[in-house]
Structures are given as structure tokens and as C-alpha cells.
Amino acid sequence: MKNKKIDKQLIKNIAIIVVVYAVVAGLLYGGFLTRQFRSLLVPVCINVILAVSLNLTTGFLGELTLGHAGFMSVGAYTGALITMNLNLPLVVEFPIALIAGGLMASLFGVIIGVPVLRLHGDYLAIVTLAFGEIIKSLINAMSVTNGAMGLSGIELHANYKHFTFVFILTILTIFAIKNMVNSRQGRAVCSIRDNYIAAEAVGIPVSKFKVMAFVVAAFFAGIAGVIYGHNVGTLKPTTFDYNKSIEILVIVVLGGMGSIKGSIIAAVILTILPEVLRGADEFRMLLYAIVLIAMMIFNSSQLKERILANDIVAKFTKVKKEA
């Protein structure tokens, strides 16, 4: 019975994906989108990948990460340097760049994993912030990344014309993270979030799974970085600063920590909204600030419990009716 339910869910998800793709692709290739909206399609996908992967460490592992942009930058520079130097056809060099960018970022995930083994909570958050800043200043100081000047003239392998490919990558990322969360490894990760002492006591090697969560999240952040570089065409170390990490965190918080669906929806809203409110770039940060504070206070207030209780009641009656 349970298997059937899962299959039903899968079919529903695939249906949603197909419809979303059909609508967006129809608008795009039919020429109905303005230049502004066209240029937003890939950034939306990038933010979805970033948010879903950050959710793995912040939502499911329960450790605040303030250096996600650092992983992204490692992927972005790695990927850009590969395509700039390889000069092979797109179908060959871009996948290589994606995989290499992801792997390089996850290598940094392993390096961060070392202190992660010994820290948690506030301290861990600060260490991830510090790592992000270290990565930024290393990129700034190295010649291969062209220092503060950054890289330019990166081939646009991921601009709006290649939306289909980016869309597929995004869907693959979502499924990978979602499946991981629902696997034995994902359960171990969530158990660490809920109570790491109890997790250890039932035989979960806590260190291993903490590092695993960081490495997987870093891998996808790296991929998002590669796409970013090939979407914009230029890279600067300052793009991947602390503020970028917070921007991703805001998406995860707004969507609900531990909710993949929420991350996707919030990524779409928070990417498009500031662009629609043209000229409101100064308000963008204000919006982020208010989202963070309001969500946290709301989450721990009684209001949420009441709404949630009602919601559960509603769902319960619905299930009963169906049965």
C-alpha cells in the first residue's frame, strides 16, 4: 500500500515538472518573455540548487552554514577555468566543468568537515563564515583566478538559450537531495539534528554523517557556481561574499528549514520579486532582514502552533474523507 502511495507522489511530481517546464519553455521559445524575465530563468534555477543544497546542512543536519557562497565560488572558478582553457565543443567541456566544479567544491567541503567534526551550533556557524572569507581572500590573492580583477570572457554555456539543460540539472539536484533525505543516510543526518547524543547512542557515526552532509551540499553548491559563471560570463571574488551566503540562507529560512518544496518556492519568489520591484535594490536587503527576523519570531510564537494545529486537523479530515 505504501509503495503505491510513493508511486502516486512520484507521478504527481513528474506531472508538475512537465507542466512547469512546458509553460516556461513555451513562453521562452515562443518569444513571449521580455529580456528582463528571460535573464532571470537561469538565476532562478541557480538559487533553487543553492537553497536545496543549503537546506541539507541547515535544515536537515541542523547546522547553520554561513559559507555556502564560498563553495559556490570554488565551483564557479574551477568550471570557468576549465572551459576557458579546454576549448572543446560545449557538449564535452561543459559537463566536464560541472563535474569538476562540483568535485572541487566538495573537496573544500571535506576540508571544512574537519572542524565540523568537533564543533556545533554557534561556533560551527562562525567557522563556516570564516572559511567563506578565507576562500574569498585566497581567490583574491591568487594569480590563476586573476585576483581582484576576476575572470571575464567565460563562454556563455548556461545563458537562457540553454535553459532546458539547466532546468534538467536543477531537477536532478532536487531529486538527489530529496532521495538522500529519505534514505538511511538522510535519516542518520536528521537524527543528528534532533539529538546527537541519542544518535550516537543508537550507533550512528555522527562525524561521518556530518561530513557527508557538508560534502554533498558543497558539491551541489559547486555545480550552481559553474552554472553561474557560464551564465554571467564574468567572475569576481566579491560576488561570493558573506551577503551572498546570507541571501541563500534567507531563501531556506523563508521556505522553511527542512522543507525542500519550501526552498524551491522561496527561491523562485525571492529571485523574481526584487527584480520586479525595479529600482528597489536598496529594499532588497531590508526585505531579507525582515524575512529573517519575522520568520524566526513567528516560528517560536504560539501563533504558528495554532496555525499548524489547524493545518494538521484539516489534513487529517481530508485523509479520512479520501479513505
Binding site: 509503495n3 535519516r187 536528521c190 534532533d194 544518535a199 547512542a201 543508537v202
Partner: protein, 252 residues
């Protein structure tokens, strides 16, 4: 050979000697009680047995193998499971998932097959579900499998902790005040469950408890701890009539 053999176990926190020269020998299949006044060091003993604390001296042998220096996860895999005095459930996970976390080491598949949902994943998850429900059935909690564990009433939360510990397939189960906060009916039910676990799963049990009804009702052997030292060891009727034990509990 006894299942658990603890010799000269001791631990100091700074200058404080919390447990000193603790010896215990538990035969396979025994229902063993560890009692003593508050602050006697009972939970500290549990924490040393499960690797939370590193003993300053002494040895812990399970089936003749030394456990000192192993971390809690390794000790669990060697065959000791525990519950906690202050309940520690995975509160944002369902009852079923709480048990499935504990099945982690028994049922194995790779991260890749988890992410790709390969056949191995489906098969193993199904087997895990079945095993978890089997364990929950023993505790009469099959119905609540999909409830969030934090929404369970207190008594059932305690039971779920025991179920979760059992799921790790231990040889020795440590229960830290299993009846704390339970009413007499729940306690009586718990006593039956503990006996059932021992008989059905062939598990040795060491428990800390203050409820004397439970202790005298089910324990076959007792060790009394006072000020971090063993006061006496023996069968319940001998131990509880020992004037020293009575003094330790009630004062002069």
C-alpha cells in the same frame, strides 16, 4: 564467563571522585538492578559503560572484549544499548523513523543507491519497515507508527525509547529510570514489557530505578551504589534488608 564484567571502574571530574572502585558482573539473561540514593553516581556508571565519559581507571569487558576508549556509536555496535533519564527522542521524526534510525547498522545500502532509489534501496527499506513495525508491535505502538514522536504522551515516549534501543539489536540493554514519571498502572505494564523483552529477545538488562516496587518485582540481582562506591551486591531480599542500605536511603 559473565556477559558484562566491570572491574575497578572509576572516574574523577577535576578533584571530585564521582565513582570509585566500581565492580559488577552480570550473567547473560539476568535482570539486574543498580540502585542508590540521588547523586550516588548511577547515571555516571551508565555514561562510562556507553562511552559518553572516559573512565579514569578500570576496565569494562563485554564478552571478554574491552570497551574502554570506544566512542558511544562503537559501543552500541558492540552490543550495549541504552535509554536516557531525560528522554532523548528524535522529536521531529515519526515513531517509525525513530526506530529505523536505530536499524541503521543492521540494514545497509550505499549512498548512491539511496540517491538513485535503486532496487536495493526499495528492498532494504521495505525490510526495515517490517522490522521496525515488528518491534513497535511488542510495545503495542504499531498504530502510532506515523505519529511525530514529540506528539506522543509521556509514557509512550519512554516506551519508544526502549523500542529504539532494542532496534539496535543489543546483548545488554541499559535502562535509566524507565518508570520515572509513570503512574502505578503504567509501571505495572512496564514491568511486564521488561520481562517480555528479556524472554522474547533473549537480552540481558541492567536498570537504574527508584521505584522499589519495580525493583523488587523484576530484578534478580541488585547492586547498591552510595557516594560513588558499591555498598553491597546480592539478591533483592538480602540487599534491601541490609542495615547499611537502609541507613544509606533513610539516614540514621
Amino acid at each position: 564467563m559473565a556477559l558484562l564484567e566491570v572491574k575497578n571502574l572509576g572516574i574523577s571530574f577535576g578533584g571530585l571522585r564521582a565513582v570509585d572502585d566500581f565492580n559488577i558482573s552480570i550473567e547473560k539473561g539476568c535482570l539486574y538492578g543498580l540502585i542508590g540514593p540521588n547523586g550516588a553516581g548511577k547515571t555516571t556508571v551508565f555514561n562510562m559503560l556507553t562511552g559518553e565519559y572516559l573512565p579514569t581507571d578500570g576496565s569494562i569487558l563485554l564478552n571478554g572484549k574491552n570497551l574502554v576508549g570506544k566512542n558511544p556509536a562503537q559501543i552500541c555496535q558492540s552490543g550495549i544499548a541504552r535509554t536516557f533519564q531525560n528522554i532523548r527522542l528524535f522529536s521531529k521524526m515519526t515513531v517509525l523513523d525513530n526506530v529505523k534510525v536505530a536499524l541503521h547498522n543492521e540494514f545497509n545500502y550505499s549512498l548512491a543507491s539511496g540517491i538513485l532509489h535503486l532496487n536495493k534501496y526499495k528492498k532494504t527499506e521495505k525490510a526495515m519497515d517490517e522490522r521496525a513495525l515488528e518491534i513497535l508491535e511488542v510495545f503495542d505502538m504499531k498504530e502510532q507508527a506515523n505519529t511525530l514522536s514529540s506528539n506522543l504522551p509521556y509514557g509512550q515516549q519512554r516506551k519508544l525509547e526502549i523500542a529504539r534501543a532494542l532496534a539496535t539489536n543489543p546483548q545488554l540493554l541499559l535502562l535509566d529510570e524507565p518508570a520515572a514519571g509513570m503512574n502505578p498502572n503504567e509501571t505495572a505494564e512496564l514491568m511486564d514489557t521488561i520481562r517480555l523483552i528479556r524472554d522474547k529477545f533473549d537480552i540481558t538488562i541492567l536498570l537504574i530505578e527508584h521505584d522499589m516496587k519495580l525493583v523488587t518485582g523484576i530484578c534478580e540481582q541488585l547492586t547498591v551504589l552510595n557516594f560513588g562506591m558499591v555498598l553491597t551486591t546480592g539478591t533483592p531480599d538480602v540487599v534491601l534488608n541490609d542495615p547499611e542500605v537502609i541507613t544509606a536511603y533513610l539516614g540514621e
